[in-house]
Symmetry: C2
Subunit: 266 residues, 2 copies
């Protein structure tokens, strides 16, 4: 297992142009995870500014890159003192695969919430009592990324594995990086897409390709695994939206995600 900071590394070759390598293991059925690609773009986006952290990222997925070498192009759209905006795109095999927009800033250490709606319906099942997902899916397909990250579901929301989804459209549990590497604002961009589709709790399906993914990073996370709630709202016309809440081990809401994905059911 290679650390996340390594598989998501970008190396500036010339101003605004970065070399990257899409790791074959950070994939689902051979397709790289969308949050993983977003994190690579996010690294390039912060590198071209004076700010340290992505606070808002939105990416549209044009096509799935093959694992292997890739180039990331990043361009500052507006440099600012407290926030800047950056456009970044990932090109692999000579074609553009992902394009994203980033608002970058520097998150203060030791901030506290001014107001928090609170935790919506997240259980409190501890990490060790959650079920670790194996890298062989229910339909026998290989989900290589599950050998890299430790994805643990609350037993109630893992019932799809026995062919008994609850129908609520919600997965809850924990996510840990290889070697329990501490999460940071870059790996949180992965975390918002790190869980299986919440639709598994409704009906199993094949690949659920992300069309658009938006992530907000709200605070610097405490070390350790993050708690995740992944929730579907509406399946219609072959598309589903999902929201994702990410809390650090101390219970702080540190990131939020929303995505629109394609889905084939029935």
């Amino acid at each position: 297992m290679r650390p996340f900071r390594e598989v998501s590394r970008v190396v500036e070759r010339e101003p605004g142009r970065f070399d990257a390598a899409v790791d074959p293991e950070w994939s689902i059925g051979g397709k790289p995870n969308g949050g993983y690609l977003l994190a690579m773009l996010g690294r390039a986006a912060t590198a071209v500014t004076d700010h340290d952290h992505v606070i808002a990222a939105s990416a549209h997925y044009l096509r799935s890159p093959d694992p292997g070498p890739a180039v990331i192009e990043a361009e500052v759209l507006r440099p600012g003192r407290s926030t800047s905006q950056v456009r970044a795109g990932l090109v692999a095999g000579g074609t553009r695969c992902v394009e994203g927009l980033f608002t970058v800033s520097t998150l203060p250490a030791g901030s506290t919430p001014h107001w928090d709606r609170g935790v919506p319906a997240v259980g409190a099942v501890p990490f060790d009592e959650c079920v670790r997902l194996p890298s062989i899916g229910v339909r026998g397909q290989r989900v290589a990324i599950l050998d890299q990250v430790e994805t643990r579901l609350e037993p109630e929301t893992a019932r799809f594995r026995q062919g008994e989804p609850t129908g609520v459209g919600e997965l809850r549990g924990w996510l840990a990086l290889p070697g329990d590497e501490p999460f940071d604002p870059v790996s949180l961009l992965f975390a918002v897409d790190g869980f299986p589709p919440a639709t598994f709790d409704i009906a199993l399906s094949g690949w659920v390709p992300t069309l658009e993914l938006t992530a907000y990073v709200r605070a610097l996370p405490a070390p350790g695994p993050v708690r995740i709630l992944q929730r579907a709202q509406l399946i219609e016309s072959g598309r589903v939206d999902e929201v994702c809440f990410v809390w650090d081990r101390a219970g702080r809401l540190v990131a939020q995600g929303t995505q629109l994905a394609g889905i084939r059911l029935g």
Copy 2:
């Protein structure tokens, strides 16, 4: 009052380059509404493809354009048979003000939800029993857009007007375009940012500038006003995220929005 289709009109001057005019009335304290600008970009994004509707839009706001003439540049990133992706930016006064990414497709008429989580805590107060917001804000500031669109709040969530916010961080009600023009997938891009900040239900503040706005259009809306739920989740480090649900008059969930905005409180 000018119809929405007119104030959001874009005219292709050369391939991928559109003339637009930011209407001074579609503003809050002189700043154009972010969803209104997103809708203009969305018009240009569909115009450069063979598809009819934006299904996913994400924009980052660099600076607030002054009302007046603007240019929109739109470029197809990937043309596809069922969906295409487009980048579009709005330039006013010679500077880039908004940049957005768009996934466009054609929404089928007569689709029905395959699965719907259901309506989260939306009351059922009819349009006529909701309180219309006047264009003079609680602090005496001019909110010109409220003379254009009819924004009606359920009385329970309009208590901030009497200095008695409920603290729940939620606004519910209805939104109607000038002349009750039917909503379409373009004006739904406005609708997801058409309500006042949900933070008014927590504490009043000045301008809450949108930093990032993501919209998903899920179905073709029935004619008539749309029902809206605008909800805040977390205020921290001078920023707030809000989600928005938009249902058509027939009760169909037709659009969803999420945004990160700046906020100054206390």
